[in-house]
């Protein structure tokens, strides 16, 4: 091998023909590529539409209240019930979705309930995700006794009978004399949901950190003299963003359902305030005669959770195109069915996008 004869040639990075002169060449970040994939995914657009619908409902709640002139909290026996005191059905007397047994407009209550559901869902998710990510990263990166303590802590939280504890906490906080009374209601609900959710995220982040810290780029950072915190937050964290976003998106609907369950059981959002869980709880007493009591809050809950769950799936597919291929193959196999499907799925393997990250 005669290496001396070979000239040092620049490998000639391809010059962008399309790039206008003077404009810096900028690579598209993996996240932007994922966003582009997301935009071309019909399921993602549909689910985003569902979420936008619910969000609009929440934002426009005061507007709906003003337009209809119906208060969400105060009882309205005078115009909201018929002469016998029965609630009005959908479309009767200017109540689009009917009224409940106190004569309150169900549409207005659902809109305000959307505010609470989204607030609780999103805040609890953010809290749980931040705590879970930080704890998981610390446990995975440092290992040893730090990992032993943090990992056992996560196991303990996951092993808790969470509904029981939530019920107990809620009823204790409802007592005016208790120390928790100051945060009773929505803040406590958010804290309880976050407390029982962070550990699941922490565990997954810990695993991801364990695999990332063995990568050579981490070794390179050590060789350059980077500190542990720098390696954790500048080098490792960007590589965890994808799984964390997916987990977060999928946690929102869980948190919303959790909130509704707590409110349904009477320990979540305190009653005069409208929450979907409260409304369903109210519907129990007179449910089957007045179907609109429970069908509309249930629909709202369904649209929201379905939207977030579908979006979460799409986000995962967009962030990691390889899973998309696997899922697409499975979907195809399910449609075609039988032995022919597996052959087709195998043949379909080479297509699909090249992973960016």
């Amino acid at each position: 091998m005669t290496l001396t004869t070979v000239q040092t040639v620049s490998e000639g990075p391809p010059v962008e023909a399309g790039a206008p002169p003077g404009q810096a060449i900028e690579g598209r970040s993996p996240l932007r590529l994922a966003l582009a994939r997301l935009r071309s995914d019909r399921v993602a657009l549909l689910s985003a539409g569902m979420i936008v619908f619910v969000a609009l409902l929440a934002i426009c709640a005061p507007l709906i209240e003003a337009v209809t002139g119906h208060n969400a909290i105060a009882s309205n026996i005078a115009t909201g019930t018929d002469i016998t005191g029965q609630p009005l059905g959908p479309g009767v007397g200017g109540f689009l979705l009917g009224t409940d047994n106190l004569g309150r407009d169900i549409l207005v209550r659902i809109a305000y309930g959307a505010q609470i559901s989204l607030l609780v869902g999103v805040l609890a998710t953010i809290l749980a995700t931040v705590v879970g990510t930080v704890v998981g990263m610390l446990a995975g990166y440092f290992g040893g006794w730090i990992d032993a303590i943090l990992a056992r802590m996560m196991d303990t939280v996951l092993a808790f009978p969470y509904l029981l504890l939530a019920l107990a906490l809620g009823s204790v906080a409802a007592e005016p004399g208790s120390r928790l009374h100051a945060i009773a209601g929505i803040p406590l609900t958010i804290l309880v949901i976050a407390f029982f959710s962070w550990a699941a995220i922490g565990r997954i982040v810990r695993g991801q950190t364990l695999s990332q810290k063995e990568k050579e780029y981490v070794e390179a950072a050590h060789a350059m003299g980077a500190g542990n915190l720098r390696i954790l937050f500048i080098d490792i964290l960007p590589n965890l963003v994808a799984p964390v976003i997916v987990l977060g998106t999928l946690l929102i609907p869980t948190a919303i359902v959790f909130e509704s369950s707590l409110s349904f059981l009477g320990v979540g959002v305190p009653p005069p305030k409208p929450s979907w869980g409260n409304m369903l709880s109210d519907a129990q007493t007179s449910g089957f005669q007045a179907w609109w009591f429970w069908i509309f809050p249930s629909l709202a809950l369904l649209i929201t959770t379905l939207g977030f769950n579908l979006l979460g799936d799409s986000v995962r597919d967009a962030l990691d195109p390889r899973t998309e291929r696997i899922f697409a193959m499975r979907r195809k196999a399910r449609f075609v069915g039988g032995a022919a499907a597996s052959g087709e799925a195998a043949a379909g393997k080479p297509d699909g996008e090249v992973e960016a990250g």
Binding site: L3, T8, G27, Y217, A220, A223, M224, G225, G357
Partner: protein, 365 residues
């Protein structure tokens, strides 16, 4: 390459370096059941301005040695002196000024660059970490570096995935160069690249050495590459250095039987020459470093082994007739003109044995 040679000022001195990796068992209470002896009592000097090549088979401890020298692994025992200062036990914080002067280029151009960060910020990392430059100045320095290593400075904002393997290795080189270090430890910098790209990267490293007066500890398993870049070469076998000499001495008159076998195994471009080469096929496999052989670690595979080799470890010393820079760890070093026998076979003879007919003769006809 430069003729700084063996008598220059010592920049890096490794003294009796030992690295064992503990092997643990048990679920809750891990207990040590043994240890892998990856590097065993290695001493060597790297002189300022030279390139010391380090060769050996996969798993012989080359990379572990490199990671001990750069303090990525803690040492089991021994010392590493960098420019006179003992850095082998320094805590992380006090190590930082030395990290500035001692950089590393990694083998895998894919794994060693963070896939989620832009190339500009990857190359700027050393500048940021050591607070050398910031803002516009840092960007300018990074773009200069990109130009020096033959990358388009306009690709500052791209991601590593948008570059080819060779270009990525150039990014790694630019990063190592950012702080103008005196020593760069190159851990198989070209073995993951295409042969055509290998030459480009090697020439780049040579140009940079001439321009910035760099010292390289160059690890590779490709003997031709090492011969081309190095001033001196050390041969490792199972965690020990068996021979160290200037390139000329080592390649023309190897003294250790393992070096002879290793050299005979390298690919020669000329088929005529290849046929006349006495290819030494070693019997057996590399013993497990979990339980290395006593005495000379090479004795179970050595065609020249004698009873003494199984008990007494040969010291690394100058053998009769060699220059002072040529050290060999062998009780029975090869004599000039001696051919290695025993398991030694010419490659076409081995093929004939395997196929059962004179393959090579046919080919020649």
């Amino acid at each position: 390459m430069t003729e700084a040679g063996a008598d220059g000022e010592v920049l890096l001195r490794v003294e009796n370096l030992v690295k064992h990796f503990p092997v643990k068992q048990g679920v809750f209470f891990k207990r040590e059941v043994g240890s892998v002896s990856a590097v065993e009592d290695v001493s060597l000097d790297v002189h300022r301005g030279e390139t010391l090549g380090l060769v050996g088979e996969t798993g012989c401890g080359k990379s572990t040695l490199a990671r001990c020298v750069t303090r990525l692994y803690p040492l089991t025992s021994g010392n590493v002196r960098f420019d006179g200062a003992d850095i082998s036990r320094l805590p992380r914080r006090h190590l930082r000024p030395y990290r500035r002067r001692m950089q590393m280029i990694f083998q895998d151009p894919y794994g060693s660059l963070n896939p989620r960060r832009r190339v500009g910020s990857i190359i700027a990392d050393p500048l940021t970490i050591h607070r050398v430059a910031s803002g516009a100045e840092r960007k300018q320095r990074v773009q200069e570096l990109m130009e020096v290593v033959g990358l388009n400075p306009e690709h500052y904002n791209r991601f590593p995935a948008e570059f080819s393997g060779g270009q990525r290795q150039r990014i790694g080189v630019a990063r190592a160069l950012a702080l103008r270090p005196s020593l760069i430890v190159c851990d198989e910098p070209v073995s993951a690249l295409d042969v055509s790209i290998q030459a480009q990267i090697i020439n780049l490293l040579e140009d940079l050495q001439a321009e910035f007066g760099l010292t390289y500890l160059f690890i590779a398993h490709n003997l031709s590459v090492v011969e081309h870049v190095s001033d001196r070469v050390a041969v490792m076998y199972l965690g020990k250095i068996v021979e160290i000499a200037t390139v000329k001495d080592l390649y023309q008159s190897p003294r250790h039987p393992y070096t002879v076998a290793l050299l005979s195994a390298s690919v020669v471009a000329d088929p005529e020459k290849a046929r006349s080469t006495n290819r030494v096929v070693l019997s057996g496999e590399v013993p497990s470093p979990l339980n290395p052989p006593a005495g000379c670690r090479f004795h179970p595979r050595c065609p020249k082994a004698q009873p003494i080799c199984t008990t007494v470890e040969p010291p690394l010393e100058v053998k009769a007739g060699d220059p002072a820079s040529h050290l060999t760890a062998c009780h029975f070093p090869m004599q000039p003109g001696e051919r290695l026998r025993g398991a030694a076979l010419k490659i076409h003879e081995a093929l004939e044995e395997f196929v059962g007919e004179p393959v090579a003769e046919e080919r020649r006809a």
